[in-house]
């Protein structure tokens, strides 16, 4: 058990998430206990409005937990300075990039920000790491293109490369497959799986592509109105967790194919 403990990258302890105003606390999900090991690909799924984004925002310190704690590499999130956190966790967000005039290389190189000097000069080591990130995501050919010239799928790969260049143990992606066609959805998730294998990083992403996630993830976090379950996809299927995901009036989960079907 103690040996196992060393490989835990992210852990939550009785985490309650939600929003707090002066007058009241609105809890969105409570008693969340998650353990993410090193070198795992984890998919976070749940219906709209169930609190996926709130959970990710809490894990990434954008908003505070109502109760409980988040540990990253065994250290409580509240004890991290913003710079330390930037070296432990990198993000791919749904926010559009503010300046599309950045070249792909420049954008990926910004991932080196926590390591560069006061004016942001890249050392040869930084440039090597950036180039490696471009190779890992198969976008070396786009290196000198401007971001406004890229398709959505290409841009997503660039953003993943930027997170890789940040050189952190944990990468968290918020809905990386939105706006993409079926092929590119599969491509991006497959790429994440490959990155986990190649680099040994832990990657957590939220997604609505439940059938793809079931096929590719090592582990899934399923948020249902009752509880938050973390397990391997095959166990989740046999326990019937996916059936509790959505209201039952329209779609049902088909265990044999691992996907949802519209009720006839």
């Amino acid at each position: 058990m103690s040996e196992n403990k060393e490989h835990i990258i992210l852990e939550t302890e009785n985490l309650n998430i939600g929003y707090k105003t002066k007058k009241k606390e609105s809890v969105i999900a409570s008693k969340i206990n998650i353990q993410l090991q090193k070198g795992e690909l984890i998919g976070l799924v749940g219906a709209n409005g169930i609190g996926k984004s709130t959970l990710l925002r809490t894990l990434t310190n954008v908003q505070n937990a109502l109760n409980g704690e988040v540990f990253i590499n065994g250290k409580s999130l509240s004890n991290y300075s913003s710079e330390e956190l930037a070296k432990s966790m990198s993000l791919v967000l749904t926010d559009p990039i503010a300046s599309k005039n950045l070249s792909v290389f420049e954008l990926v190189a910004l991932g080196r920000h926590p390591y560069t000097n006061w004016v942001g000069n890249l050392t040869t080591e930084d440039i090597n790491i950036v180039n490696q990130a471009l190779v890992h995501t198969n976008i070396e050919t786009l290196k000198h293109k401007k971001c406004f010239e890229l398709s959505d799928g290409q841009l997503q790969k660039v953003l993943i490369a930027r997170a890789l260049a940040q050189d952190t143990d944990l990468i968290i992606l918020d809905e990386p497959t939105t706006h993409l066609d079926m092929y590119h959805k599969a491509y991006i998730l497959k790429l994440l799986q490959k990155l986990v294998k190649d680099t040994g990083k832990t990657i957590l992403f939220s997604s609505h592509e439940i059938d793809l996630a079931i096929q590719l993830c090592d582990k899934m976090i399923v948020m249902t109105p009752e509880k938050v379950v973390t397990d391997q996809p095959c166990n989740l299927i046999s326990e019937g967790t996916f059936n509790t995901l959505f209201p039952k009036d329209l779609i049902v989960f088909d265990e044999t194919t691992g996907s949802f079907r519209v009720k006839k």
Binding site: V62, E84, S99, N101, S103, L110, H113, G120
Partner: protein, 342 residues
């Protein structure tokens, strides 16, 4: 990535252009002075005493002021456009210029209310400089207080615009009660002026300007990260509130002093960063900042040379010239490129 050294040629060309414009600016004026006399006057007094007076005490400070004003406004425009990630932002979006206008309006237009003796005391040049600085400083302070409470940077933009509307309204009310003479004086201030600065004033101007530039240089790394958007910048370990504070202070120092000493110079702050981006096709502030400095200085010198109306006795308001020359240039650039690069 376009390496820094691919821009070396452009930088050398710009520096040469700056030197040429500087000498051209000094050599032009209502009194024609031969070129050899201008070079000589830098190293000592000429036999022609009026010539050395014109050059050393009038044209030289004016050309230096033009360089400080152009570069300072350009850089503060660049800082604001990146901070607000909005190509329409300029140095005056925070209400700095309207604050200065209010200060000056209170002194010039309000002087009538205090009566004759005070009026002549109040309307000296220093009191206008102090009033403009105080006005922009107070508006800035209000913006800073608000920005420490507001999380959203775009809200600061709107709050700055609102402050501008309030001060503009106060100025209108004041002008309604003022005499024609006072109004004229206020309008003349609004034309902007690069001349009239003594060496002492120039020194004070330069010291504050340097502070602003230093703060801008410190912000280079943060500005580059902000190009990704605030949430990404935060995830990269950038202290958003602190960087925002430094950027706002830098802009206010630059735009505030410039407005205090040279009046509200329109257009330069908004346009220079865009013109620069057309030539230097990068978003890296390490390259943009010095490039904007050079472009700002050059264009301001050219505008000032035109405002002199060479070989005539007229001096046109610099504020009108910057817009008359600059606006078509930006329109032409954007129409030709069909793209607002940001």
């Amino acid at each position: 990535m376009p390496k820094t050294n691919t821009y070396t040629f452009s930088f050398i060309a710009l520096i040469l252009l700056l030197i040429i414009c500087f000498f051209l600016n000094i050599s032009l004026g209502s009194v024609s002075i031969p070129n050899w006399a201008i070079f000589k006057s830098f190293f000592g007094t000429l036999e022609h005493e009026s010539w050395s007076y014109i050059i050393q005490d009038y044209r030289l400070p004016k050309a230096l002021t033009a360089i400080l004003v152009g570069s300072g406004l350009g850089i503060s425009g660049l800082l604001m456009q990146t901070l607000f990630r909005n190509p329409l932002a300029g140095p005056f979006v925070l209400g700095i210029s309207s604050g200065a206008s209010l200060g000056v309006a209170l002194v010039i237009l309000g002087a009538g209310i205090f009566g004759g003796v005070f009026a002549s005391l109040l309307i000296s040049k220093w009191s206008i400089v102090i009033a403009a600085s105080l006005g922009s400083f107070l508006v800035l302070l209000a913006v800073l207080v608000v920005s420490s409470r507001v999380k959203d940077t775009m809200a600061i933009l709107i709050i700055g615009l609102m402050f501008g509307s309030i001060t503009a309204a106060v100025v209108s009310v004041l002008s309604y009660f003022s005499s024609a003479e006072q109004l004229q004086q206020y309008i003349f201030w609004g034309f902007g002026s690069l001349g009239n600065l003594s060496w002492n004033e120039l020194l004070i101007f330069f010291i504050i300007y340097c502070f602003g530039i230093c703060l801008s240089i410190i912000s280079i790394k943060g500005l580059n990260t902000l190009l990704l958007g605030e949430n990404y910048a935060k995830s990269l370990g950038l202290n958003i509130k602190q960087s925002r504070f430094i950027i706002i202070i830098a802009t206010s120092l630059l735009a505030g002093t410039i407005t205090a000493f040279a009046g509200p110079i329109a257009f330069i702050g908004l346009a220079i960063p865009h013109i620069t981006r057309q030539v230097f096709n990068t978003s890296n502030h390490k390259i943009l900042l010095p490039a904007v400095f050079l472009f700002g200085a050059i264009i301001m010198l050219i505008c000032d040379s035109i405002a002199q109306v060479p070989a005539s006795d007229y001096t046109l308001p610099i504020n009108a010239i910057t817009s008359l020359i600059g606006a078509p240039v930006v329109i032409w650039l954007l129409v030709r490129k069909r793209k607002m690069i940001f």
